[in-house]
Amino acid sequence: MKELRYTPLNLGRWLLWGGYALILLAAPLVFSKGGGLTLLSQMGTVMIFGLSYNMLLGQGGMLSFGHAVYSGLGAFFAIHAMNMAGAGQLPIPTSLIPLVGGVAGLGFGLLFGYVTTRKAGTTFAMITLGLVELVFASSLMFPGFFGGEGGVTTNRVIGGAVLGITYGPQIQVYYLIAFWLFVCTAAVYAYTQTPLGRIINAVRDNPERVEFIGYDTQWVRYLVVILSSFFAGIAGGLSAINFEIVSAENVSAIRSGSILLFTFIGGIGFFFGPLLGAVVGILFSVLLSDYTPAWQLYLGLFFVLLVRYAPGGMGSLIMLLLRAARFGHLGRVGKPLGWVCLAVLPGLFGFVAGVEMLYHLTLEAANGSVKQLFGMAVDTRSALPWTLAGGLLLASIVAWRKAQPVFADAWGASCAEIAVQTRSAR
């Protein structure tokens, strides 16, 4: 007898993934000016890297300080493969180079993951830190493979055009990255639905119980690290194509730390968190760094504030607002929230102005005391801008103290009401 099955069309899923594909397709048409395309390409690679990182941190509870090992080594293998393909020794098209990076990442995941996953929790974090330092230090010892201080360079245009695609223009590279990003997103999402993806959540939450139901937690973590390093390697391979250079910095603790920062900022509790985090992180580190030398301070401060006040990252803030909207509370919560934002704004201006003037005084004192700030020429040695910045900050603090309790009350009432509604619906 034929088995009867009923699988309704999941419209929401089609809309979501279709919209995602559409955004990836349309993004370069919207942000075509200036460095928009390079920015988008970098975001794409970092997104894949972030997704792979969140397989460990968000889904597996494994805080790694050395994930760049896999992406970086993947990038090195990819760039050598490109050079060999360019010399005609290896018949592989540029489109498949990320796969080379992925396989290399997977190989190193097999090797290093065995050592790192012997421990969980804080010790795991320390071992990964040790590992990344080990690989970074070794990379300077073997200049033949790692290219020493200068790194390894390549040319991504290999052979003639296939269907008019040479990967010379940046737009073609963007679409290659977008294609791999979509494939990787789908693959990582599919992985979260597999038994392995489920059991790693259990290992994160209650490893002892998982042991009791007959799973080897160490083996589960090992498998996840291997899979995750595969995707990290793909990200590395794509960045090798994008930048046409790979240096020791790619396997450094700095690179690993920044992906941790980005992913956490996006929100480790959500599948889309790393995607959001990559956008914000690249905006900070590429766009903002063009305008101010203090971008790392802002990024660090933003991160610390998020850890301290919103451990769920920006994703959790968005989801909380969406939940309030779904229950029709946006009107009630929105107004006090608007006032809070309005209260914070002048303080933010004052703070940024203060930091910028301080940076100018300590690091650029040789260029005179006048600085361009928000389109105005400001003399950092006179008292006026400092009083102005301080005044803005002070005004903001006063306004915050007025607006914040109102918002906290409204928010608390809304949350309590939602809790009551969801409970009665159950």
């Binding site: 804080t122 040790g130 080990l134 603790a253 920062l261 301070l297 991160f303 690091l363």
Partner: protein, 314 residues
């Protein structure tokens, strides 16, 4: 003989400096379960604050004042940064200290600039302590060892011979019971955290002028002290001591040895040419690989003795 003696002395003094750093880290870890990622940043702050103080009132007041200042800063960080996060578990705490380490580097650059500062050794200690054959041992190195040993003794006395130490030990192993007896455990945590940071600050005061005081100094020593803590066994003070000395001696010895596997094979009568497979690997000298030795040790320890040299927990 001369070489062995001086490498040992240098290794021990470096190892003792590492111990000054890792002891605070271990103390904090065994008490609060949180690995303070920003520990090396407090070491850097100690050096910079000592530099500023010593340029005004001299080195000796700085030796006392800078660790106190760093300790107070650490206590503030615990009180207003870490304590509210405690309920979320260890990963947010670790991430907070990670972000803090990021911020402190930026703030140091903001206040003291990006270049290294001229933090000089005090005049009284500038010079050789003794000269043996043709090598002389700097007096400042001996002073470093002296301070580290005095600190070691002081920690031991405080922890085992005073009432405060007793309470700390009680809060370490049985926080609930200590709290039930009327001790303010969160406040003890705060002062232990501050104390650990003060130890790092002290290490910074005496390490800053022995080496270089620059914004990168936290990063250079940061990962090594984590290796020390893991190799010694998480939470074991004695293990941290042994691992610090081991790594200190190992690294200083390795830097001076200009031999490679190719040399060894050459002695055994195997000819090594650039055509030999793995030529690059065989040609790496011990001195070149000194940077990776601590991390290699970490990996080996984890494979063969996962709880560390003297650790008690897996």
């Amino acid at each position: 003989m001369e070489f062995t003696l001086f490498t040992m002395l240098n290794g021990i003094s470096y190892g003792l400096l590492l111990f000054m750093l890792s002891s605070g880290l271990t103390l904090i870890f065994s008490m609060m379960g949180v690995l303070n990622f920003a520990h090396a940043s407090f070491y850097m702050l100690g050096a910079y604050i000592a530099y500023t103080i010593s340029s005004v009132v001299g080195f000796w007041p700085a030796l006392v004042l800078a660790p106190v200042a760093v300790g107070l800063l650490g206590a503030l960080v615990e009180r207003y940064g870490l304590r509210p996060l405690h309920k979320f578990g260890h990963i947010p705490e670790l991430l907070f200290t990670f972000g803090l380490s990021f911020l402190i580097v930026e703030l140091v650059q903001l206040v003291w600039g990006r270049a290294a500062v001229q933090y000089a050794i005090p005049k009284q200690l500038d010079g050789p302590l003794f000269t043996l054959f043709s090598t002389s041992f700097p007096a400042y190195r001996a002073f470093m060892m002296l301070v580290a040993l005095a600190m070691l003794g002081a920690i031991w006395l405080v922890l085992t011979r005073t009432r405060v130490g007793l309470v700390i030990q009680a809060a370490l192993t049985h926080p609930e019971a200590a709290e039930a007896l009327g001790h303010n455990v969160p406040r003890i945590f705060m002062w232990v955290f501050g104390g650990g940071c003060a130890l790092a600050g002290l290490a910074g005061v005496i390490g800053g002028n022995a080496f270089v005081t620059e914004p990168a100094m936290a990063a250079t020593v940061g990962s090594i002290i984590f290796v020390v803590v893991v190799v010694g066994g998480m939470g074991s003070l004695a293990g941290a001591f042994a691992a610090s000395l081991l790594i200190g001696i190992m690294q200083t010895t390795a830097v001076a040895l200009d031999y490679s596997l190719a040399h060894l094979l050459g002695k055994l009568g195997v000819a090594i040419t650039p055509a030999t497979p793995a030529y690059a690997l065989l040609n790496v000298t011990i001195a070149q690989s000194s940077a990776i030795l601590p991390y290699l040790l970490l990996v080996l320890i984890l494979i063969f003795r996962p709880k560390g040299l003297m650790g008690t927990r897996e």
